[in-house]
């Protein structure tokens, strides 16, 4: 227990987390501080570029691991299974309409790549290594949850109303393509390639991440200011416990697959994290009746800060405990 607190407080006092807190505080105090939209989008792409490339270059130097297939499969199963758990859990806890519960479930089955990036950085600080292909697992986990979420919502929605599933948009959304593409390029060009782009994607990475988390804090804070009234205690309780449940479901998969301590920690982080970029956009097309104010406030306003501060150190502990 003491360890978690030590880890958590070390994590809490890192610049990255403090910038998130700064953004949150600025938004709650109604400051007009903001990262311009196009820059925020670019930073998001930069983060995909960097972790994708580094993951791929890691693959190139450590060789193709037979566990890759197991890890990918684990990711796909987790992404499809967690929405069912989340759906049942939130249905029990709250009286939200079925369609909102289904949409929330889809978000928790899918992943937050920034949470993944923050976890990677935390591992680096602790000098725990992890499998490079975990970024591919992250990519694989984005889509299945969306389909399950839509399936869960089906009976609640008028079937004649249209609302086609934007599958191509989900699978080929910009972040995923960048992540997978950079991963592939990192893999192909290997250490030599990495050297060429190192002073762009490695050295300034933490600083850029600070800027991005500042923005995340601002957006989360503004979301809380507007959506805060929807946050009844049971719903907040869901958003604080669901990530831990997700991580605990993921841990055995990591163990069976034989991932390293870092790999297990990252798999738990992915399972614990909730989407706030790709899934909301997909929901607006396919499930417009679900309210963004609910799913975005939960995933970005509650679960993301929880994971960033307490969750990540916890999942690192789980990883070390299982495979350390």
């Amino acid at each position: 227990m003491a360890d978690i607190f030590a880890l958590a407080s070390q994590n809490l006092l890192s610049p990255v987390v403090l910038f998130f807190v700064l953004g949150l505080a600025a938004a709650l105090a109604k400051s007009d501080l903001a990262i311009p939209e196009q820059v925020a989008k670019t930073i998001a792409l930069y983060l995909m570029f960097a972790i994708g490339f580094k993951g791929g270059a890691g693959m190139a130097s450590h060789g193709l691991d037979a566990k890759l297939v197991g890890a990918l499969l684990s990711g796909l199963i987790l992404s499809a299974a967690i929405p069912f758990v989340a759906f049942g859990y939130l249905k029990t806890l709250s009286k939200l309409p079925r369609v909102d519960v289904a949409a929330v479930a889809a978000h928790y089955g899918s992943i937050s790549i920034v949470t993944f990036v923050a976890a990677t950085e935390a591992l680096k600080t602790l000098e725990i290594s992890s499998e490079g292909y975990m970024v591919a697992v992250a990519a694989a986990m984005e889509a299945p949850a969306i389909l399950v979420g839509l399936y869960l919502a089906k009976s609640a929605v008028d079937k004649n109303a249209g609302g086609e599933v934007p599958l191509r948009e989900i699978l080929l959304n910009g972040s995923i393509v960048m992540l997978i593409g950079a991963f592939a390029i990192g893999w192909i060009t290997g250490t030599e390639g990495l050297q060429k782009v190192e002073s762009f994607i490695v050295s300034p990475f933490q600083g850029v991440l600070c800027l991005f988390l500042l923005d995340m804090g601002i957006i989360a804070g503004r979301g809380l200011r507007q959506g805060g009234k929807l946050l009844t205690p049971p719903v907040v309780f869901f958003a604080l416990t669901m990530p831990v449940i997700g991580a605990l479901i993921a841990a055995p998969f990591g163990w069976v697959t034989g991932l390293s301590a870092g790999g297990v920690a990252l798999l738990c982080t992915l399972a614990a994290s909730a989407s706030y970029i790709a899934v909301p956009a997909a929901m607006r097309v396919a499930l417009p009746e679900a309210r963004p104010s609910i799913y975005l406030t939960l995933s970005l306003g509650v679960t993301f800060p929880f994971n960033l501060t307490i969750g990540i150190p916890l999942y690192n502990m789980i990883g070390t405990w299982i495979a350390g």
Binding site: A34, M216, P280, R284
Partner: protein, 103 residues
């Protein structure tokens, strides 16, 4: 200078739906349209601002289409079909144009 009566269709719609709407307009044989990004706004779901979201969900755009009266009925129906479940505000107004052959 001689001018000619046409219609101006203005639609506020969410970005994730936009492609479906523009496909429908093209299918309905409008000669063209122009899309302008919105910065923010306010509606029944409260205020929104482009900077307050990482996701395209909730981002509105404004689409303007100058068209001939004869197309209005068909275009309105196509637009309505798409935005009926979604956020979407469709308005029509009268305008005069200089080059009628463009519409």
């Amino acid at each position: 200078m001689k001018t000619f009566s046409k219609k101006r269709l203005e639609i506020f719609v969410e970005e994730p739906i936009l492609r479906r709407l523009t496909d429908a307009l093209v299918d309905a044989n409008v000669t063209g349209f122009t899309i302008v990004p919105a910065l923010g706004g306010h509606g029944s779901a409260g205020p929104w601002h482009r900077e307050n979201a990482l996701s395209a969900a909730g981002h509105m755009v404004m689409l303007v289409c100058i068209l001939d009266e004869s197309l209005v009925e068909k275009v309105l129906e196509a637009a309505y079909r798409i935005v009926s479940r979604q956020i979407g505000i469709v308005t029509i107004s009268d305008v005069e144009v200089v080059r009628p052959e463009l519409f």
